[in-house]
Amino acid sequence: MRHGGIDEERFLAAYRTELDHMAALTGPRKVASVFFGGGTPSLMAPATVAAILDQIATNWRLAGDAEITLEANPTSVEAANFAQLRQVGVNRVSLGVQALDDAALKALGRQHSAAEAKAALGVARDHFERVSIDLIYARPYQNVRRWQRELEAALELGVDHLSLYQLTIEPNTPFAALNAAGKLLVPDSESAAELFEATQAITEQAGLAAYEISNHARPGEECRHNLLYWRSGDYAGVGPGAHARLTIEGVRTHLATLRPPEAWRDQVEAEGHGLEDQHALASSEHVSEFLLMGLRLAEGIDLQRLAAIGGEIDAEGLAMMRAQGMVEIDEGWLRVSDQGRLVLNAVIAELVA
């Protein structure tokens, strides 16, 4: 959203309009979590956040213990808003710390320093019950020993939730160009695997085992909002470039809004919503998504639920994956083993019928 002044008011009005549209689609529901993410929601005026939460509470029933997360960069500017954000109802913050190494932060194109990040984390912890930080690893020139040290330092910060992502070289980025030119020493798949394994060992020891491929928490501190994605629950998406999955009249439906903010806003003003796509998912698509998302979780997937949505698993693939120790079935749940998690994409491709 554009921040400040008349512009922000116009956007807020658009958010409200689209929330109304979503409510009309879903009918009465209980909202268990809200997530302000993408871009820099932490720069929104707290009043705007408050207004959006009000609108949600008006349109649906907002659970008393609703998890309300906001994504923020760990800078002093953003931290300055934390106190007020807490007051309007935000109760969880996810800080994009990314690294605790200044050179690495610069290479990743971040504005903040490691010291600033730690300071912002301090402020966050003063105000919010629940704080999570993000780190990116398997960075150029990062070996296992260096990462271990960094991760241990992060754990000492005492957070209860950690998102630890291996760096992915996305196509058409400066990284991809450097990588293609052989100018980036990104860990190869063997080193990346070792880094991943080291990460699991260290976090487990610290009591923050992975509950999802890249997410770690003390038991009970998992991000409930993200769990909803991985468990293929219903979620609405509001604002530019938002995606949603909603059960509408019994049919799982894909919704997506326009990505350019102004285009989104203009359409909302003209048509009452910013959707550029809304279509029913084919049953096979729903099933693929259920597997794709659910198998990322340590808990795995409930095979009864899979059956209930009309899904099945490729029998031959399953037998093969079980024989190879990639997956296990336990009391009606299918989960991926430690070994399988490292090659999850290949495992899922075998399982999808």
Binding site: S288, L292, M326
Partner: protein
């Protein structure tokens, strides 16, 4: 339909345009058609006779084409010219051969910047064997690199042909084309023929046309061919009622009649091309000629490979598609084959590798069938200890070695022309391929080397290698000379301990280990990593002679996947699944479709 204007034999000229690949035959044909007004400017396009999609795409001629032109010469007379544009590629040499048999003369086109090449030689000798008058034409003189005088001399030196009357031209700009037309009428002989004799015509070619059915191209020697006439194909022994008679100008034009010395076509409710034998004699059913024409040898497939549908459910579609292609191309053969690894498919015979490639491409493109192609093979003659003799087209069918007395393989004589500086590399290539040098001669700085080579060493990638070691400067022509026994063995490839019959090859014993090693290395790159490690082995009988291992996939997991990513990730998954469908499963290993051929492409230094 106008009643035919008979033209005196003295005003007819029949000629083929022959040359090495790309020396400009079809472009010269364009100019001749244009000059004689065969097509309007609007209808004209480059290499207008190359009408097949593949011909246009690859810029080559695959099928010979005939055109009748009317040319008013300087002597004031209007001549009837029948030109046949021929293909240059060695796989289609039989097209040249039959074209030559229909004519009295040839235009030998030589690129004045490149000079005499292997197919120049092969084709000119064929023309001389057919008693042709040959007019050398030095083409592409518009190119800065053209050296018409030097090439003229080269024609004399290398071919031994009098080139004093060679015509410098540019088929592209049209320069000199008028002289070509005059030379055709003044220097080439008119056909001979007896108008009063019973019909005797040479069956030059036949093909399938969607509108007219089978079209038969003939050269009338004696007598007349008319609409409504009942004719007999002497070798086939079948009789047909002529429905249409016409010529190509180059558009079809019905004339209802063809007289002696003329080239044209007829249709006669013939079902498939295979019912007409090229080289056969067409005569009147009631009043046949006394003796048939000598005819010529049918084109025999020399290269064989298996073609299998990637999707086993498409087997019947493939059968139908092949039958359709064969309607039009009798030189391509197929019979059903079963492979333990690939299921049901066909063993197919081709004239050469380009022919194979073209048929495969047409099957994939025109009939939309994904194919797996297995290693090309030649025909081996296997003499069994019990005296039986087997023709082996497929390495997978190799009998138990203890029952084999000896194996014979086909040998070729290859003629290679190459500039001096690349000769060393070419000789090395031939030696590596078990070649036996026959002669080595020079014309200026160009060497002409003749080698005997086993066809199985040539069939696959020899031509590519030759082009690569000579930087594209070597040219190559070959013909089969006979069979010879050799120490040949069947090499099997095992992937994850399972033999993959579609990858087995027959190879000289001394070369087996190197080939085996190279194939294992290639497969290591071609087969994607799996969740487990995969041994790849080459074996002779039970003995492993080479081995590689594909390491297990170590890490393949998406770091971030939230609500906004799921659509994209699902689509990626769909793609991955689709990719798997294009692979073939062997036990637990998936081998990509392209690997079967690519495994054989071996880099040699």
């Amino acid at each position: 339909m106008a009643e035919p204007k008979t033209v005196p034999l003295a005003l007819i000229r029949n000629f083929s345009i022959i040359a090495h690949i790309d020396h400009g035959k079809s472009t010269l044909a364009d100019r001749l058609i244009q000059t004689c007004g065969g097509l309007s400017a609007r209808e004209m396009r480059e290499q207008v006779l190359d009408s097949m999609e593949l011909e246009r795409e690859r810029g080559i001629t695959i099928k010979a084409q005939t055109v009748r032109l009317d040319y008013t010469a300087k002597d004031g007379q209007t001549y009837r010219l029948n030109l046949i544009d021929t293909p240059g590629h060695v796989d289609f040499a039989y097209e040249v051969n039959r074209s030559l048999a229909a004519c009295e003369g040839s235009l030998l086109v030589v690129d004045a910047s490149q000079g005499v090449e292997a197919q120049t030689l092969a084709n000119v000798y064929q023309a001389l064997d057919n008693d042709h008058e040959v007019i050398p034409v030095l083409n592409k003189v518009d190119l800065p690199a053209a050296e018409p005088e030097r090439i003229q001399q080269q024609i004399e030196d290398v071919i031994g042909l009098d080139a004093s009357g060679a015509l410098p031209i540019s088929a592209k700009t049209g320069e000199g084309v008028a002289d070509v037309l005059e030379a055709i009428v003044t220097r080439l002989p008119a056909p001979k023929g007896d108008e009063a004799a019973p019909l005797k015509a040479l069956l030059v070619d036949s093909w399938y046309d969607a509108y007219l059915g089978v079209i038969v191209l003939v050269r009338i020697i004696d007598g007349h061919l008319k609409k409504g006439q009942k004719v007999k194909l002497m070798a086939s022994g079948t009789s047909h009622l002529i429905e249409r008679v016409g010529v190509f100008r180059p558009k079809q034009e019905m004339t209802g009649h063809l007289g002696p010395g003329e080239i044209g076509f007829f249709t006669a409710a013939i079902k498939q091309v295979a019912d007409t034998r090229v080289g056969d004699t067409v005569t009147d059913d009631k009043a046949p000629c006394a003796a048939p024409l000598p005819g010529f040898k049918e084109a025999q497939p020399v290269v064989f490979c298996g073609l299998f549908p990637v999707d086993a459910a498409e087997f019947e579609d493939l059968r139908e598609a092949m039958a359709r292609l064969r309607l039009n191309d009798a030189s391509f053969s197929f019979e059903m084959e079963t492979s333990a690894a690939l299921g049901f498919g066909f063993r197919c015979g081709f004239l050469g590798l380009l022919h194979l490639e073209i048929i495969r491409e047409r099957l994939e493109r025109e009939f939309d069938i994904d194919l797996i192609t297995t290693a090309p093979s030649v025909i081996y003659k296997i003499h069994m200890t019990d005296g039986a003799e087997i023709e082996l087209h497929n390495p997978a069918d190799m009998p138990d070695p203890v029952k084999i007395e000896r194996i014979e393989e086909p040998w070729i004589e290859a003629t290679i022309l190459v500039p001096d500086e690349h000769l060393g590399a070419v000789l090395k290539l031939c030696e590596d391929r078990r070649g036996r040098q026959q002669t080595l001669t020079y014309a200026g700085t160009r060497a002409m080397v003749v080698y005997e080579l086993p066809l199985n060493e040539v069939v696959f990638d020899f031509y590519d290698r030759l082009k690569s070691v000579s930087r594209g400067y070597a040219s190559f022509d070959y013909h089969i000379v006979g069979y010879e026994p050799g120490p040949l063995v069947k090499m099997s490839l095992l992937v994850n301990a399972e033999p993959v019959d579609a990858l087995s090859i027959i190879v000289h014993r001394d070369r087996a280990e190197a080939r085996g090693r190279a194939m294992c290395e290639r497969l290591k790159d071609l087969i994607p990593r799996h969740l487990f490690k995969i041994p790849i082995q080459a074996a002779l009988g039970g003995k492993v002679i080479a081995r590689e291992t594909i390491a297990a996939l170590r890490k393949d997991v998406t770091a971030k996947c939230y609500g906004g990513d799921v659509t994209r990730k699902r689509k990626l998954l769909d793609k991955q699944k689709a990719g798997k469908k294009r692979m073939r499963q062997f036990g637990q290993v998936e081998i990509p479709q392209a690997a079967f051929i690519a495994a054989l492409k071996i880099e040699e230094n």
